[in-house]
Amino acid sequence: MVAAREYSWPVVFSVLLHGAIAVALLLITRISITPPRQSIQPLPIDAVVISSQVLHAAQQVQQAQAAARAADVARAAAAVEAQKAAEQQRAAEQQAAAAQKAADAQLAEEAEKAAAAQRVAEAQKAAEAQKAAEAQKAAEAQKAAEAQRAADAKHAAEQRARADREAELRRQLAEEEHVNAVEASPKRDQYVASLQNAIQHAWIRPPSARVGVDCLVEVTQVPGGAVTGARVTQCNGDAAVRQSIENAVYRASPLPDPPDPALFQRNFAFRFKPND
C-alpha cells in the first residue's frame, strides 16, 4: 500500500514525460527548418507530496537525470533529423514520407529506449526505495524489539518486586497471624501469669498501697528479660507507693521469658491495683 502510493507519482510523471516527448517530436517534424528552441523544458517536478524526505531527494535526482537524458536524446534525434532533412531537401517529396516513417520508427525506438531507461531507473528507484524501506523497517523493527525487550525487562522487574512485596507481606501477615494465634492461645495467658507472678513476688507493698490505689508503670525490657526502664506514669498513690512499684519492676528483673518468642513485649505496662 505504502509502496503503491510512493510509485504513483513517478508513474504519472513518466506518462506526462512520454507525452511531452511525442509532442516535441511532432513539433520538430512540422517546423523542421526552425532550429530547436530552448522553450522545450522538462515538466517541473513537484516532489513535495512525496512522503519520505530521503526518498524524495533520490527521486528528484533520478528524475532530473532521466528527464535530462530524455531531453538530450530528443535533441540529438532532432538534430540528426534536421541535418538529414537539410541534406535531403532536394530529395524527392515522397522520400519525406519514408523519412518521416523512419523518423517515426526512430522516434519510437528512442522512446522505447527512453522508456526502457525510465523503467530501469524506476526499477532501480523502486529497488532502492524498497531497500531504504526495508532498512527503515529493519531499524524500526530493531527499535521496536529493543523497546519490547526493555519493556519486558521492566515488566519482569516490576513483577519480581511485586512478588517480593507480596511475599514480604505474606510473611509479615503470617507472623502477625502467628502472633495473633499465640496471643489468642493459652500461651499469652501463661506469659501474663508468669509476669504477674514475678512482679507480685517482687512488690513489697507499703501500707499506703490500699484498695483503691491504681497505678500504671511503663516497663522497658530487652530480650532475656532484663529491665532497662520502669516509670510510673499514672498513679493515685503516694511517693512510697510509686517508689515501691518502680522498685518491684527492678527487683523482678530479669523478667520471665515468654513461652513463645512472638509474645515478647519490649514495652508494656503493669497496672498495680491491690484488691485486698
Binding site: L195, Q200, P206, A240, N247, Y250, R251, N267, F270
Partner: protein, 432 residues
C-alpha cells in the same frame, strides 16, 4: 479485588498493631508483706570510736524493730562507703539491697557532733535524702532515731515514730517492800528515766497532747488520786482526789480537760470530764454498771469507754453533749475492754478475751466492724498506739513477769521490747 482487600487488611493491620501492643498491660493485685532489704553502712569518723556511739547500729535497730525493714548484717558488707559518690550500686544490688544509708559522724569541738547522712535507692541510684543533724553527746541517741524516722518516712510513706517516747509503770520488789516507778524511755525502751517513784501503787499514766506532761493515778495517800506532772521540771499537782475512786485519766485533745472515772457513794463508777483550770466536773455516763477507761475522739466530741452494763465488759461510744445516748461498738466475744483509738481514727484497739486468754485486738470503725486479734499471748493488755499508727505497744507477761511488747497495727510484726528491771505494766506511747 480480593487481593487488594487482602493488601489493605495487611496495611491496616500494621497501622493498628503498635497501639494494640502498647495496650499489653499486666494487672498486679497483690504484693508481699515482706521486709525491705536495706544496708545501713557504719558512719565514718576517725573519732567515732572516741565518741563511742554507733549511729548506724541504732538506725539499723530501729528499722529492724519496725518489722518493715530487713537491715543487712554488717559482717556481709564488702565495702563501707561514707558518701554517695563512693557507693558501688551494682555491688549493693547484688547483695540484694533495695536501699543504702551512708553517713558520717564528726566531732566538732567539745561535746558537739555533726551527723550527716544520705539515703539512696540502690535499684535506680536515686538519692532520696541528704541531711545534717547537730547534737551534743546526750542528744546523739535522739538524733539517730531522727535519722531512722526520716529513712522510714521516705520509704514507707508514713512518719517514723522512733524519736518518740513511752511511759510505763515498773514494780520492783515484793509486797510489803514494793517500789512503784513511773518511767519515761525512748520508744525503743532504751534510755529510761524515773519520773516518779512511790512505795504505793502508781497506775494509768497518760500523755498530755503536747507530750510535756503526764497524768497518772497515785495511791501515795493510801487512796487513789490523780496527778498531773510537768516532765521537764518534775513539778506536779493533784487534780482529782474525790471520795471513792479516781482513775483512768485521759487528756482531751486540747489538753484542757481530763476524762476520768469517779465513783458515787454507792460505788457506781461513771465517766466524767474535769476541766483542769476550773475544776468543773461534767458527768458523761449515768448507768448502774461500771463505766470506765475513757478515750477521746480527736475532735473532742466523742468519748469511747468500757462498760459492763450489758453483762460482760464491752466497748461503747458516747457524745459529750448532754443527753447523748451511749452506743455499743463491740459484739464479738464476751470481753472487750480498754478502747484506744488509732491516730487516724479508723481503727479501735482494745483487749479481748479469746480461749481464756487476754489479747490485743483491733476493729475497723469505718468498714464492717471486723475484729482482728493481733497477739497470741496469755495476758496481753493495755494497748497504746504509736503516734504514727503503725504499731501498738502493750503489756505482756513472760514467766510471771510483766514485759513490754509491740505489734504492728496490721498484726504482721511482733516484738518484745528490751525491758528495764522489774515487773512492767501499762505502757503508753507519747505523741510526736
Amino acid at each position: 479485588m480480593i487481593k487488594q482487600l487482602q493488601f489493605m487488611t495487611v496495611i491496616g493491620f500494621f497501622l493498628f498493631c503498635p497501639q494494640a501492643w502498647a495496650e499489653f498491660v499486666v494487672e498486679v493485685t497483690r504484693g508481699q508483706e515482706q521486709a525491705i532489704p536495706i544496708a545501713v553502712v557504719p558512719f565514718s569518723s576517725a573519732e567515732a570510736a572516741a565518741a563511742s556511739f554507733d549511729v548506724a547500729q541504732l538506725v539499723s535497730n530501729d528499722l529492724a524493730r519496725s518489722g518493715r525493714f530487713k537491715p543487712m548484717d554488717r559482717k556481709d558488707f564488702i565495702d563501707e562507703p561514707h558518701t554517695g559518690a563512693s557507693i558501688a550500686f551494682d555491688d549493693w544490688r547484688r547483695l540484694n539491697n533495695d536501699y543504702i544509708v551512708v553517713g558520717q559522724l564528726q566531732p566538732q569541738g567539745e561535746d558537739h557532733f555533726n551527723i550527716s547522712f544520705e539515703l539512696y535507692n540502690v535499684l535506680n541510684h536515686q538519692r532520696l535524702l541528704g541531711f545534717q543533724i547537730n547534737s551534743n553527746r546526750a542528744g546523739l541517741r535522739l538524733a539517730s532515731h531522727q535519722v531512722a524516722d526520716m529513712v522510714f518516712e521516705k520509704i514507707i510513706g508514713i512518719r517514723g515514730a522512733f524519736a518518740t517516747h513511752i511511759a510505763y509503770i515498773s514494780m520492783l520488789g515484793t509486797v510489803p517492800h514494793r517500789t512503784y516507778r513511773l518511767i519515761v524511755a525512748d520508744a525503743d525502751g532504751e534510755n529510761p528515766h524515773i519520773v516518779m517513784q512511790s512505795n504505793e501503787p502508781l497506775m494509768s499514766p497518760a500523755w498530755s497532747p503536747d507530750g510535756q506532761s503526764l497524768a497518772y493515778v497515785s495511791f501515795e495517800d493510801k487512796l487513789p488520786s490523780i496527778y498531773v506532772q510537768f516532765l521537764k521540771t518534775g513539778e506536779r499537782r493533784q487534780v482529782s482526789a474525790r471520795a471513792g475512786v479516781n482513775q483512768a485519766p485521759a487528756w482531751s485533745p486540747d489538753g484542757k480537760k481530763l476524762a476520768l472515772t469517779l465513783s458515787t457513794r454507792d460505788g457506781n463508777l461513771d465517766v466524767y470530764v474535769l476541766d483542769l483550770a476550773t475544776q468543773a466536773l461534767t458527768r458523761i455516763t449515768d448507768d448502774p454498771g461500771i463505766d470506765t477507761e475513757p478515750q477521746w475522739s480527736k475532735d473532742g466530741r466523742t468519748i469511747y469507754f468500757t462498760s459492763d452494763r450489758a453483762g460482760g465488759p464491752q466497748i461503747y461510744s458516747v457524745g459529750i453533749s448532754p443527753g447523748d445516748r451511749p452506743r455499743r461498738l463491740t459484739f464479738q466475744g464476751a470481753y472487750n475492754a480498754r478502747p484506744r483509738l488509732s491516730p487516724d481514727e479508723s481503727t479501735l484497739a482494745f483487749v479481748t478475751q479469746e480461749d481464756g486468754a487476754f489479747r490485743i485486738a483491733t476493729m475497723d470503725l469505718k468498714g464492717h466492724n471486723d475484729m482482728q486479734v493481733l497477739t497470741k499471748g496469755r495476758s496481753d493488755v493495755s494497748p497504746s498506739y504509736a503516734p504514727n499508727g503503725a504499731d501498738i505497744i502493750y503489756a505482756s507477761r513472760d514467766r510471771g513477769r510483766g514485759v513490754l511488747a509491740m505489734v504492728s497495727s496490721d498484726g504482721r510484726v511482733q516484738e518484745r521490747l528490751v525491758s528495764s528491771e522489774g515487773d512492767v505494766q501499762e505502757p503508753v506511747w507519747s505523741p510526736f
